[in-house]
Each structure stands twice: as structure tokens, then as C-alpha cells.
Symmetry: C2
Subunit: 166 residues, 2 copies
DNA sequence: CATAACTTTCAAATATTATTGAAAATTAAA
DNA sequence: TTTAATTTTCAATAATATTTGAAAGTTATG
């Protein structure tokens, strides 16, 4: 396969994968581009490569910075901003886990805390309490696992992989 | 909190959570409803409770069946179809993991297999090969973990939780 | 300060995705 | 077979999300 074709397919796939991971298509594509870049890229270069507008590029670069998935790189003597990403997949996974936990798991646990304390004695209410309490318990276990994952170094994953498959 | 308020908030939250987990809002809301139902529900009951059209209800019930997140229940002597879901959060998690693996992880691994075999010797090509190979390796490890998770019984989660937090 | 380089904003335009509802299809019972 | 209950389909519509691009904002430099 030609490099240009491979690159195109990889960026497109990463983009659609991104959508199902809570980051929008363009954001994921910019990330994909930074992953394979041999040096930091400027907004202009990103615009050109992905054929997107300045506004779009700017917005999504900000979002990547916000998610901790890209960082600003300043070249000495240059005014323009360049961007780069950490290329270790584990760092990526950790960062995504951290952000999604904050944006999704934490709020749902808080909500389940609230609604599982509902008043009443009827059959429906009892079932509701049981189900939401079970979900809350599960969500908290998931939270523990994710916290452990986030806090530990990049060998963690492979260490437990060893343990559980032994 | 009143039951009606708690129920509303829970269904709304589950719906928006769903979006970020690859299932659409209505699909997640129907699932939420089935989770707290004390008996199987008909399409009519779902339409009424969530105030959605027949077409919408039907489509999303099919999608839930397709994801393995709901099952048909036939009441003897009745023609109408009823639907129910497994209420164990672990069963839910397993099912979602299984489907998302099939829909997302498996395809991306296949793509990475292909594109990491790109031809060429330049700096860009070398970097591309390295990055995509790393991603592929990571994706395969993730695949192992998920497979173990899917195959094992519901105690698995707590067992490894014990191991890794020890 | 004035200018130019660069970044950010945001209202309007587009594109994408979800929803409706009525008609068509299916199926069970009469 | 006919009828009626039920489910499915799908084109039209509505809702949501993304993208554009030009104007406004910012900041370094002469």
C-alpha cells in the first residue's frame, strides 16, 4: 500500500472511531495527524492537510489541549504556535479514561446517589431503588478500577494483563 | 425526592450517557425504562411513557435486541410482544463490551494491520509504521482484556479488582 | 504608537442524525 | 380466506451538531 493511501485510511478511521469515543471527528483526525507527524505542526499545516477551515482547526486544537491530548510547542524565535501529541498509546488511553471519567462516570454516580434515595414504599419505587443502587455500586467499582489505571504508570496495564490471564 | 422526578432524571441521564457510549439517546432511554420496570413492557407502553412515536419505539427496540440488551417476552394467549432487559449491571457491561469490540476494536485492528504494512523508507513512512504498529499492539492487548472479561462470569470484575488493588 | 502576524470568536450555512406518522407488510385468529 | 391486530418500513420533517469564513481580538516587533 502507498503511504498516501495508508495515511488517508488511517486518518479517516481514527476520525470515525473518535466519534464513538466521545471526541468529534475532526478532533480525532487532528489527533491522528499529530500521532504520525515527525515534528510539531502549526494550525496552517493542519488546515491544509485535513482541508478544514481555520475556525474549525482552531476550535478542535483547543479541544485537544483541553482533553490533554495535545500540547503547545513553541519554536524559539517564532511567533506561530505548534502542536504535538504524546505518541504512547498508553498515555492516550490514560488521558481519555481520565477525561471520560470526569465527564461521564462522576456525574452519573452523583445522579444515582440522588435518585436512589427516592421516597416511597410501592412496588415500582422499591424496584427503582434496587436497580439504581445496583448501578451505583457497579459504577463505583468501575470508578476504582479507572482510578487505579490513571494513577499508575504505563506498565500497569500489562502487569494486570499478566495477572488475570495467568 | 418524588418517585416521578427521580424516574425522569434517571431516564434523562441514562439517555445522555448512552450517546457517549455508542447507543443513541432513545435507545438508552428505553433501556433505562426496562431496567426499572417491574414487568415486561409492550411497544405501546414504551411509546406512552417516553412520549415517542411508534416508528421510533420500534426501531430502537430492534436496536436493543440487536445489541443483546433486551429480549422479547411472549405472554401466553397474547399476541402483543413484550420486552425486558437483564437487570444485572455486569451483564449490561459485558454485552456492551462485546458489541463495541465487534463494532469498533475489531475493525480498527484490521485497519492497523493493513496500513502498518505500508511500503517505503522515508522518515514519514518510518514514523507512520512505528506509530501504527504501536497502536496495533496496544489494541490487541485491549482485545485480550476484553475477551477475558466477556468470557468470564460476573465475579471476574471483582476478582481482578481485588488483585490489582492488593 | 502603528503595523503586521497570528489567534479567536461566532452567526450563518451545511451536513448529519433522529423522529414522525401514515402506509405497507405481516401474522394470528375467526 | 377474510379480517383485524400488530409490526415494520421509509420518505418527509425536525432536531442537533459541525463547519465555514470573515471580522474582531490579541500580541510581538519595529
Amino acid at each position: 500500500m502507498e503511504y498516501s493511501e495508508a495515511k488517508e485510511r488511517y486518518i479517516e478511521a481514527w476520525g470515525s472511531l473518535g466519534s464513538s469515543w466521545g471526541v468529534n471527528r475532526t478532533m480525532a483526525q487532528i489527533h491522528a495527524l499529530l500521532m504520525i507527524a515527525t515534528e510539531p505542526l502549526s494550525t496552517e499545516e493542519i488546515m491544509e492537510d485535513l482541508k478544514i477551515s481555520r475556525g474549525n482547526a482552531n476550535m478542535n486544537i483547543r479541544a485537544l489541549l483541553d482533553w490533554g491530548l495535545a500540547k503547545k510547542v513553541l519554536k524559539p524565535g517564532e511567533r506561530k504556535e505548534y502542536f504535538a501529541t504524546d505518541k504512547d498509546p498508553m498515555v492516550l488511553a490514560t488521558q481519555v479514561a481520565k477525561e471520560r471519567k470526569k465527564r461521564e462516570l462522576d456525574p452519573i454516580i452523583r445522579l444515582l446517589e440522588e435518585v436512589s434515595a427516592v421516597q416511597g414504599e410501592g412496588k415500582e419505587v422499591k424496584e427503582f431503588k434496587k436497580v439504581t443502587a445496583d448501578l451505583k455500586g457497579f459504577a463505583k467499582q468501575a470508578d476504582s478500577v479507572i482510578n487505579t489505571f490513571i494513577q499508575s504508570n504505563s506498565n500497569w496495564f500489562f502487569k494486570i494483563l499478566g495477572k488475570i490471564t495467568r
